[in-house]
């Protein structure tokens, strides 16, 4: 009986035996998630280039705008890729330019003026933002898109034509547990 009790005591004492672990590893941990997020989209047809009297307008009556307030970049790697894809079935080429503003509606930067040709195949324009450009991009709170038709045949009311645009933001999200 004495042996059994001694054995049991040893077993219970050994409960405290935790070896080969290091909790401090958690403190320096960092986890990365690759994300490509469809951020914005625009789908319009020929009617959007006509006024109420079916007269052609060079631009939509107002710039298209998206309000990006509420987006946070604190957990993102210090570079990101902003790509915009266009496709068009218009029989006329379209110029497109994006303008980026901060929260005070101060213009931060403009994109190149993209030429979207009258072909039914998508075209992608991408820009990598890093360093100072990254800091600039992360302060963007509003994007305007302006479209203009290049010279060509007078357009007619038609729902079957389509111009579409999708902006995708590619980045790595970083999680650094704070203990």
């Amino acid at each position: 009986m004495k042996k059994v009790l001694v054995l049991l005591s040893l077993v219970l004492v050994s409960f405290s035996c935790i070896k080969d672990v290091d909790y401090n590893q958690i403190e320096s941990s960092e986890f990365t998630t690759p994300l490509s997020i469809a951020l914005l989209q625009l789908d319009i047809n020929q009617n959007d280039f006509l006024d109420v009297n079916n007269n052609e307008i060079t631009y939509p009556s107002k710039p298209y705008i998206v309000n990006l307030s509420g987006l946070y970049y604190e957990s993102v790697t210090d570079n990101l890729l902003f790509s915009t894809q266009f496709s068009s079935t218009f029989d006329r080429d379209i110029n497109c330019q994006l303008t980026f503003f901060n929260g005070s509606n101060v213009e931060l930067m403009k994109s190149d003026e993209y030429l979207i040709q009258s072909i039914n195949s998508p075209v992608i324009y991408s820009t990598t933002y890093e360093g100072d450009k990254y800091d600039l991009f992360t302060s963007v709170r509003r994007i305007d898109v302006k479209l203009s038709l290049r010279n060509g045949n007078q357009i007619q009311p038609d729902d079957n034509t389509n111009f579409s645009m999708q902006s995708v933001i590619h980045f790595d999200m970083i999680l650094q547990p704070q203990f």
Binding site: M1, V4, L5, L7, L8, V11, L12, S14, F15, C17, I18, K19, D20, V21, D22, Y23, N24, Q25, I26, E27, S28, S29, E30, F31, T33, P34, L35, S36, I37, A38, L39, L40, Q41, L42, D43, K62, Y64, I65, V66, N67, L68, S69, G70, L71, Q85, S87, P122, I124, V145, Q166, S167, V168, M173, Q178, F179
Partner: protein, 480 residues
Amino acid sequence: MKKLVGLLLFFNVFVVLAQGGINSYNFGQTPQAAMLNPAYNIETNYHFTLPIIGSHNIILESTGMTAYDVIGTNSIPFQDKVENTVYQLVANDYFLLNQKMEFLNMGQRLNNDAYLSYGFYEELDLFSTLPVELFHLFYEGTSIPGKEYKIDDVVMQSNLLMVYHVGLQKSITKKLDLGIRFKVYNAAYDLQATSNKGNFNSNITADNIYSHSLSDIDITIRTSGFAVQYDADNDPIKDQNGDIILENNSGDDLYFEDYFKGGYIANKTFFNGNKGVGIDLGLTYQMKENLVLAASINDLGAIFNNNQVRTYAYKGDYTSQGLAFEYDSPIGYVQRLEDELNEYIPLTIEGNNYTSLRPFHVNAFAAYSFNKKRSNVCELYKSVSYSYASIFGALIHAQNRPNQILYDASFFYERNFNDIVQARLNYTVNKYSASNVGLAVSAHLWKINLFAGVNNVLGLTNLAKANNISAQLGIHVMIK
């Protein structure tokens, strides 16, 4: 916080109480054994367990990983260890915490030779599957177009309750003992998220258009014992300090912090919780003088939640190819996204009553005794097993949990050293582990019974590398 995480990882492998007491089933004439099998004859005329310190059980288990897998000291970077661990998990891997503390356990033999036992104990239960596919989503993000990340196997249930019980063990014939135990549950809180469906995927079309979809979302979470009050917009009602006000039967304002004040939670746990009923059934059959069969079912019951109840449900589908440009919208991007999600996958909050089933246990037991008879044969009762020096046996145990049954099989060798000490050595195998060797000892010293057991002796050499460890402790006064 670091210590908390470390503690959780530590407990992750620290103590597993043998999923219902493999060590103590029909062993040692202890009241703990009788709680597992109400037909078990503890061969005494009176007993009581020392309140609070007398009997503690704790189960803490997580399948698919050990603490060493995550925080072990080796040359593998921490991030890689975590990632490797995540990808070794499989569906239905789970985390289980079950803790019990007895406040009162007493019993006495009646004139008709039946044994009446009664008491009450506190039980905290938490069961959660590990959201494996959501872990994968965290690592993979949107890098695998078309891959669906399901939430179907995400399950959680938890409650804190007081169990009031009264049981009766009776010898029906010389071979057959039956036992029954009635239970009344008083649940301080209850949480059930047991039937979730839906998936998330990101896709790229042939035209290179990105889309993100939440499909077939059907999530239901039920709670009782604490209930946030909401306005018509499903926003929590707050007081002038911005603190969320909870529903309170007395009409006074109630806050989350009130739950952490001893008096309130104690009152809810002991008396003013949601009520339920349950039953334990057991039988012991002395097939031969040296062959005993036993079986029992425990906690076959339910809690009827009708006080401070809430049901939160999300249902719907949502696909986004990005938010549409608008003309000078004053609404922010995140707010628009939330608005769209709320429109397509709305949250509904109701206060309907609901019933939560208890996770019941089923045990099947057999024991074969051999070696010469000891002198301490108890003529009054017929537990002749103890007149043998050695016993071989087996126990099969199953426990129902949402979407799965947890089961294990244990094989043991038991030795009666003398009138005082019995020891059991058992080997347990289950779906997740095949290396559990346990040891239990029961000692009767004067009128005191001491019981202690561990279920994975090998794991004790380094808890960090053990998948599960179990421990039990009991101190009882037994008067014959």
